[in-house]
Every structure is written in structure tokens, then in C-alpha cells.
Symmetry: C2
Subunit: 611 residues, 2 copies
């Protein structure tokens, strides 16, 4: 009996015969896995993560198995971790380059000089330290206290105390001899699909190094609901291990001096990471902290926590100082998390009088509408079309992805990331492609491919398709793909409409549109308007903020003021539940056209269509 094997991150499926290994399947599927011993099980390089039935096999400490040793006994999902696959397809994450204020970072090391004790000045070590720090009320971790007497005497009463902050409370988590003490922090964005981190100098606020990778949890399902279902069925521990493994792998990359490029070569040490700040959706936060995500999935969609307690790296198993505080940005609702709070924080819309609309396009699409007075938010189950999911040739914005398409002289031209041989189409490429095909008359307003409109039309497996590239890999888009893209863009646009409608406002009232998310700064606004993803407003009203979750996480890492702002954003957001909204379904149905049923909402697109 043959078994299906699907490889991630590529989402490539193949079949193997009974008795064949995962490595055999990888070879068959064209997925590259390092295996220098040729499958003898000796080199130990072909490490993968698997989900599904297979013959018993030895498992490494971090849950890895050797692909050459795993023999499927049913449908298997395989994650190929950071290796050539990832290096080849480096994720083009977008980071904010803004310099943020440093003011009471989440953790901070302070040089303290103390008087040497004497018979007349016989204060105990801890009280002496607190007094010199000017912090009589600071708590101290028992582990730090245990090392205190030796440290103070060994450093002749000149030491560096590391303080972790939790609201107004401070805890001394480490005391070291004065010397070359680095204060490193980590800003983290945990997306359902992608994880990005920044290593930050907590003194200057400077970003020292960046890295990103796929979320290894994808082996347990592509979207949030699939992950929760997996947790419910098999326990959330495995998913916690997978995200912790993803983060630790990234930390290792930034802190390893032998790493090729990601590190700045200064040999950072993971133990010097004294604080972590995390932007993520609620399901990701729950799975990271080991909280049961079950109730997020069922009505009335209640998370375990909105404002996660600050925990310690060691409680979660993260590679950092064991007592490093792990701060998760608070999130408003089951599907509007700290990542959205972070977007708002980074955009600054909560500080301004102007009416702003914020759209975060990820595996879900979240929308925020408002200003300094009030804010509404909702989440649309937009689907992962713009992240390369549910589209046959879709992919993330990586090397070889077609990221821009235009119609010239009656035919399509495209460019790829890093100008390489095209291997798929990423979000911005899909938007361009659909828009250009619409404007060129290759597809109609329902997204159906018009017969004989182009020489690129072909039936693939009985489905009408447009072939974009025929090389080593054929790249095409079919009507099912277009339908998925329509559903995604319709959900986002409908979400915006419902929020506006609920306060009796119109798209025309929106003074500023912030676009957040991994693909955010790459998309062509005119094309996005042409397909009806973005409202038909003047170009200057749009602002791309990039990965808001990561940028907001960095802000919170560096400043107590930012953390306070994040908390007040969380408090002022009003959640609008679309799942029970009939208006949403009306709006959604109307938006399942290119650009929309109601062309009056898209005058400039109408003009272009009529040209």
C-alpha cells in the first residue's frame, strides 16, 4: 500500500510504497534533504520532524528523527528544518528600521559600586546591593541570591545587577562581576507560518542581527484552527516543543559565530539574552506558554488569557538567560492577538486624531479602525492565499518567487525575488497577476478565465489555467486558485466594510490606511485596488508598516512606555465578532467579484476597466 508524504515548508506531496523511507519520498518529490551517507543512517544529517503513523524509530532529544530511517505506515507530514532548503529560500521578512526609544527596557543591567562591609557597616549582601542600586523593594531570584556572596567578594564590591521589569515591579535576576556585560534582548514575531526574530542591544536599541524561519508547527496543520484541533487531539505539548524548537533554532543561528550571514559575527551568547518580547496571535501565544488553546476554537471563542503573565525563559525552555522575562503583548480576543496590538502600536494610530484603518494580512486577516478616541477590531478568516497557501503555485516571498507581474504588449512579464529561476508565485505576484489579467481581459469579473483571450490558457487536469512560465518547473494559475484569492480579498474588504458600517462611516472617511504583515511593503497598491483587496483611496493615504508584530515587539522590549501603550491599546480595542454578523456575509458575498459587485466603490478601477 502506498502512503502519502507531504513535505514542509514547501508543501510538496508525493507517495511512497510500503517499506520506503521518508528520504526516498524526498528524493521522489524533489525535496532536498542533506544525507551525505546516502541513507545509511550514519551521517545523522537528514534530521526531520514527522507527524503521522510510521514504524518505530529512534527520536532525538528535540524530537528529530532521521529521514532515512523513518518508514511511513500511513499519511505522513514531514518538516525539513533549517538546512539548505531554508538557506536557498531565505524568507524575505520585512523589518521596521525605525529607531525606538530606549527607556526602562524589559530587562537592564546596572553597574553598582558598594562600600566594603565592616563591623560598623554590617549590612547583609543583598540589602547592601539594593541600597546601592537605590531599589529597596526589588525582589531577587533565589538563584541570583545564591551566587551573590561570591560575586560581590570576587569583584571587590563592584558588580553588575540585571533587573527584570514586570509592570512597576523589579526583580534582580542576575548579579555578575563588572566587566564585559552585554544586554541583549530578543524581539519575536510568531506567525502561524513564519517566525522572525531580532537580536537587539538593549542599551542602544540597535538591532544587531535578524533571522526568520518557518514555524515548525506547520507539520501539524497550516492554519490556527488546524493547530488547535491537533492540540485537542494529541495534546499541546508537541506543538509547544515545535515552536520552542523553532525559536531556539533561530536563536542558535544568531548566537553562533559559525553561522553564514545571519549573525553579525560578534559571537553573541544566548545566556546574554536577558529579555524576550513577543508579538503573536492568541493561538501561538497559548501554544508557546503551554496553555490549552481549545476554547479559542469553539463558540464563544474565549482565550485562556488576554494579558499573559511575564514568564521566564526557563519555564518555557527558551535558549536565553534562564530568568530572562518573556513578555507577550496582550491581545484583545481569540482571533485578535498581541500581533494586532503591536501593529497599532507601531502605526501610532492610537495617538492621532485622524481616522485610520489598519489591515494585517497574514494567515488570518485582521482589521482595526479608529483613532485616539476609539478603536474597533475584527478578524476575518481570510485564508492563506497571499502567503502562498491554497494556491497551486503559491509560495512565500522567497528566492525564486514571482513577486511582480505586468502586462506589456498584450502579454505577461514577471520578475522574481533575487532574479532567480521562478519556482512559484508569492502574494504580491498573485495580486499583480489577477489584476493584470482582469485589466487585460484574460479573466472576467467573476474570476473565470476567458476563452481565447490569451495564448497562455490551457486546461490542467480539466481546470482552466493560465501558464505563466514553462521551464524546469511549470508555473500556472487556475480558476480554483483565483477563486481562493477572491475569497481571501473579499473577507478582508468585507471586514473593513463592517467596521466602518458599524460606526456609520464610509471608506471615504478613512484618512490613513496602514498595511501590516509579511508581504506588506511589496504589494502594488493600484493592483490591490484593482482586485478589490484595498479600498479605492488616493495612494498617499496608504502607509506600509512592514512586520508590525515584530516592530511592536521591539518597541515593548525597549520601553516601559511602549508596554503601557500596548496595554492601553488592548484596553481600548472593541472587538466585533464577524462570525455572528449577517452584515459580514452580505458584504463578503458582494466582494466576491473583481473588484466588487458595487463598482461605485471603485471608481478608479472602473475607469481603468473602461479604458
Amino acid at each position: 500500500m502506498a502512503h502519502r508524504v507531504t513535505f514542509f515548508p514547501g508543501n510538496v506531496t508525493t507517495e511512497v510504497e510500503e517499506g520506503e523511507t521518508v528520504l526516498d519520498a524526498a528524493v521522489a518529490a524533489g525535496v532536498h534533504i542533506d544525507a551525505s551517507c546516502g541513507g545509511a543512517g550514519t551521517c545523522g544529517k537528514c534530521r526531520v520532524l514527522v507527524e503521522g503513523p510510521h514504524r518505530p524509530v529512534e527520536t532525538g532529544a528535540d524530537g528529530h528523527v532521521l529521514a532515512c530511517q523513518v518508514i511511513p505506515e500511513g499519511e505522513l507530514y514531514v518538516f525539513v528544518p533549517a538546512g539548505r532548503e531554508v538557506r536557498k529560500g531565505k524568507i524575505h521578512a520585512i523589518y521596521s528600521n525605525a529607531a525606538f526609544e530606549v527607556r526602562e527596557p524589559l530587562a537592564e543591567s546596572i553597574l553598582v559600586e558598594m562600600e566594603r562591609p565592616s563591623l560598623d557597616d554590617n549590612l547583609a549582601d543583598l540589602e547592601r546591593l539594593k541600597c546601592a542600586l537605590g531599589r529597596p523593594d526589588a525582589r531577587i531570584a533565589l538563584t541570583a541570591l545564591r551566587r551573590l556572596p561570591q560575586t560581590l567578594r570576587g569583584s571587590d564590591w563592584r558588580a553588575v545587577a540585571t533587573l527584570a521589569r514586570d509592570g512597576s515591579a523589579e526583580e534582580i535576576i542576575e548579579v555578575r562581576p563588572s566587566g564585559d556585560v552585554k544586554d541583549l534582548g530578543l524581539a519575536v514575531d510568531i506567525g502561524t507560518t513564519t517566525v522572525a526574530i531580532e537580536l537587539v542591544d538593549l542599551r542602544s536599541g540597535k538591532v544587531l542581527a535578524q533571522a526568520s524561519d518557518y514555524n515548525r508547527q506547520m507539520v501539524a496543520g497550516e492554519d490556527v484552527l488546524a493547530r488547535i484541533a491537533y492540540a485537542e487531539e494529541k495534546g499541546q505539548e508537541r506543538l509547544q516543543d515545535l515552536i520552542v524548537g523553532t525559536l531556539n533554532g533561530l536563536i542558535e543561528r544568531l548566537c553562533s559565530p559559525t553561522d553564514c550571514g545571519a549573525s553579525d559575527g560578534h559571537g553573541h551568547r544566548a545566556e546574554d539574552i536577558i529579555a524576550l518580547s513577543i508579538g503573536a496571535n492568541p493561538a501561538m501565544v497559548h501554544l508557546l506558554l503551554g496553555l490549552e488553546p481549545r476554547s479559542i476554537r469553539y463558540e464563544p471563542y474565549i482565550p485562556v488569557v488576554h494579558v499573559p503573565p511575564i514568564s521566564r525563559a526557563m519555564d518555557i525552555g527558551l535558549r536565553a538567560h534562564p530568568h530572562a522575562p518573556v513578555y507577550c503583548i496582550p491581545g484583545r480576543a481569540a482571533y485578535v492577538g498581541g500581533d494586532v496590538t503591536a501593529d497599532v502600536l507601531l502605526s501610532g494610530m492610537h495617538l492621532k486624531d485622524e481616522l485610520a484603518l489598519l489591515i494585517d494580512v497574514g494567515t488570518n486577516g485582521e482589521v482595526v479602525l479608529g483613532n485616539r478616541e476609539w478603536m474597533l477590531t475584527c478578524s476575518t478568516s481570510a485564508g492563506p492565499a497571499f502567503e502562498g497557501g491554497e494556491v497551486s503555485c503559491g509560495m512565500r516571498a522567497m528566492s525564486g518567487a514571482i513577486d511582480a507581474v505586468r502586462m506589456t504588449g498584450g502579454d505577461l512579464e514577471f520578475s522574481t525575488i533575487d532574479s532567480g529561476e521562478p519556482v512559484g508565485i508569492c502574494g504580491s505576484g498573485l495580486i499583480d497577476l489577477v489584476a493584470q489579467m482582469l485589466l487585460g481581459g484574460w479573466i472576467d469579473r467573476k474570476g473565470r478565465i476567458v476563452a481565447d483571450a490569451s495564448g497562455r490558457r490551457r486546461d490542467v487536469d480539466g481546470v482552466p489555467s493560465i501558464v505563466l512560465h514553462s521551464g524546469e518547473e511549470e508555473i500556472s494559475i487556475n480558476e480554483d486558485d483565483i477563486a481562493n484569492i477572491l475569497r481571501t480579498k473579499a473577507a478582508i474588504y468585507a471586514g473593513c466594510s463592517v467596521l466602518l458600517d458599524s460606526v456609520a462611516l464610509d471608506f471615504g472617511d478613512v484618512e490613513r490606511v496602514y498595511i501590516a504583515g509579511g508581504f506588506g511593503s511589496h504589494i502594488d497598491v493600484e493592483n490591490a485596488q484593482t482586485i478589490g483587496l484595498l479600498p479605492d483611496l488616493p495612494r498617499e493615504r496608504f502607509e506600509f508598516i512592514g512586520n508590525g508584530s515584530l516592530g511592536g515587539a521591539r518597541m515593548c522590549l525597549l520601553s516601559s512606555k511602549a508596554r503601557e501603550s500596548a496595554h492601553s491599546i488592548f484596553e481600548s480595542l472593541t472587538y466585533v465578532d464577524l462570525s455572528s454578523s449577517s452584515k459580514f456575509f452580505d458584504q463578503y458575498s458582494s466582494a466576491l467579484f473583481l473588484p466588487h459587485t458595487d463598482l461605485d466603490q471603485f471608481p478608479s478601477v472602473r475607469e481603468r476597466l473602461e479604458r
Copy 2:
């Protein structure tokens, strides 16, 4: 080659030949160790703790070895834990029966009823709980948060939240379904020699059960300095294990339904212990928390901490709820610890206008002088004579101890605890004995035995002795013993004198004398004055407060007000260092007489002597 083997708690020494076991030594020394298999190594009952060189042997998880398997290879110290030896010689600890105020105990469980969440009321679980608790700022332990969703849904939103207090901060350490939730707390006195605990109902303040045992650390040395020296040489981990083992053994006794007597038979569970409050001297606190005690021993005698941070039972390895807060009463100086703060708290001297003197006689002798305005304190290295140490027939106040002696018709009469066959003399017996011998003319004011004054005089090993009892065990006191008793009482009296002198006051100004410590309520004040241990003041000025360390620990367990008082007592105590005081040595030398060189200080004793 023969090896010396000393058994604790009895402090009995014997010798074994090369190749003989500890069990052989116990048999030779008359120390009872359970060994139903007769030394075959099969019954596993003869578990002991050993210190010193021996042939390799299998060690149990808690550091125990089987006496029948241990073959000494040098001088060996053996501790025989709770078994028949201890049951036979139950420690007569003195507890305060006062009912203390219950107000914000160290931990508290609160019943919470919540509204069931809905689409319109979609607060997350934690925020819902905090809101219902009325504690928006409470922190929560990650472990409790992980269990929260199941607990709330399983109990239909009616649950019991357990809060631990740390100053004004509160942390939710547990959430359980409503039902039969007990709030148990543990008050603990860790003495250098003896450990006593009380299991307390945190709601009513009622003491449910009590137990006491020897501090297993005695295998590593009798007094604080010996323990610190041991820690310095061999690491403090072993000493931490020994005290944690002592405490866990006691907790097990109180929480085991099969225990014979100590438990109240209600089958308390160790996991229901949600808070622990500890009174102990600084060395004991350091060793319990795993803090290096080294600097306590050397000038300028600086502890690691005066105000120990509240830690968790699991951080220390105590058998209780893993997150139960462990509060240690703050102590003023290296040799004036939380036990003394607790004495003051229990006495109430810090609240009154009257000038009070507080004397705690333990392995050290600590003195506090003052009132609500000011307090001075000092520690005298009095030695353990009144605890049975350094006296040939001395013992703790246990069954069979001679606890009272009087001279009738020219000869001595005595009584024993539990009216059993006498096995030794405890502190109160020693005071009586020396006083009565002095008044009877059997010894002179230098403590030398007067020739031919009694028929009980005999030379034992060339040292003049008085034989008190010749039975199965001969009980006697010799001139060396009396000299040790003199040194102890002189140190305590001199300490009091120095404190009074430093504020230009006199014993006559003292309106109240509080006597704390294990033997406190048993001693005869007149006899104690006769030997010059207590000042010559009217009887009604003396008040016995029993085990102040334990009583104070219970107060702090039950009330935040008591914990605040303990903190302000700690802050208002001024430490007087006697080690550098020439006045102390003068006073000490003058007090090395019975009752004192200056008989004017003891007019009533002079009268009795002249009678």
C-alpha cells in the same frame, strides 16, 4: 585499625574494628537501630545518615544508607533518623497556646463564582477570574494558568483560587474546583539542634498538629560555627539536604494518617500546605535556602541576606504545594536572626512603654533590651550547656531527663520527664542541680566540688564528680561540666549587662524579663538567679514565652500585620557586637562565679547563701 563512630541524636561514641559495620557499632554503643533482618541488608529498616570516610555503599534518594552495609574507614558520624530512638525520647517542645489574629495570611484560598462567558461577555479565563476575585493586579503562576481553562469549565465557573502574598503583591498559585479545599499552613522553628513544626488551619488560625525532631544537620557539627565550617569545606548542599530532609520527615509525620499520635488523624495532605513561615537563626536560614553561610563566620560577620526573599516550596524541595510561599522572618545580624525577631514579636515588647529584657537561651544565647522606642540586641556564644551539650550527662528535655532537682534533708531529690528511669539531665535540671549544690555547700562559688561535703562525691576518671543516680546508667556531674555551665550562664548575663550599660541603665530599671527558648517555661527562676543566669529581680517581672521562634512564625503565617511588625522590629533593632567589646569580657569574667563576683547584684541570693 579501630575507628570511632559517634551516634546522634544521643551523641554516643564507640569504636569498631576494621571491617565492622555501623550496625555493629550501634549494637556495641547500645544505640537502638531497627534491623529486623539482623544485618542481612534485606529489610531496609536500618536507614541512617553518615558523615565521614567509609567504603562505597548504595545511597538512597534522600541520602540514607543502610547501617548494616556501611563499613567505616575513619572517624564516622551517624544520625539515626526518626525511629524508635526518637519516639522513645520525644522532644518536649513548648508551644504558645495563644490564639493569633488571622488577617491576610501568607496564602489564602478564595471561592470565586464567575459568569459563564458568551459572545457578548468574551473576557478571557484569567481576566474573568481576576475580575471576580476583585484583584486585577494579581500575578499568576504559569502552572496554575495552564490548568485554568479545564478547572473553570469543569467546575461550571465556580472555583477556589489560592493567593500567595509577598508584601502587597499577590500571586494566584492554584485554582481548584470548589469543594473540600483545606488551607493548611506550616509554622516552623529551625533550631541548630531541634526543629519544631505546627500544622495550622489558615482560616481559623487553629493549630491542628505539632511535631518536633532533631535537626539532622547535627551529624555535621553541633553548633552554628561547626556547620558553617562543614559547609565551607564540603559544600552547603549536603546541609541543605539534611535540613530539608528533617522538615520533610516532620511534614510526613503530620500528614500521614498512620502516624502514631503526632497527627490529629484527619489525614492532612502535604499538597494542601499552601504557605510556610520560618523562624530560624541566620545560619539555618542560609542553609535552608541554599545560601553560602561562609561570611557569617568571619569578621565582619556579614550574612548574605537580612530579609530573605519569599521563595517557593519547590525551589527548596519542601513537601508542600510546589508554589507554597516560604517566608523566613527577617533577622538583624549574623548571629541575631529571625528567631529573635520572632521572640520580640511574640513578646510584644516592641509595642510597650515598659523597659523589657528578652533572653533566648538556645545553642546561642541572644538578648534584646528595649521598648517601643528603641531596641538593642546582641548574641553571646553561650554554648549548648543548657541544651545538654558539653555536659557529660547532659541531654535535651526528653523522656527520662532529670528536669528538676532539690535538696531535701541534706540530700538531692530529682524528678524525670514522664517519670521514667533517668537517662540524663536537661537544662532545667542542671540549673536546679548547680543552684542546690551551691546552697547546700556541696560546691563553692567557683563551681569546685567541696571535699567531704556530701556522700555523693566521687572521682570519675580523675575528675571530681557528684553522682546523682546509680542505676542501669550512672548519672553524674563533674567539675568540667560545672565550668561549662558557668561559662554559658556568664556569657548570657554579661550580654545583658553590656546592653544595659551601653544605655546607662541597670538591671533594676528592667520592668519585664521575657524568657524564650525550648527550655524556657520549665526553669525555676529562683535557682536560675542563684547560679547567676537570671538577674535578681522580683519573680513577677519574669514571663516565659516558650518557643518564641515558632510562635512568631505562626503569627507571621497568619497575618500581614504580624509580617509588617516583624519587618519593623528588624528595622528598629540595633545590633551590638560583643566580639569586639572589651566591656563584655570584663563582665563575662566577673560573671564566672556563682552567682557573680559582685554579690551586690544578687542580694536575695546572698541572703539565701548566708542562711
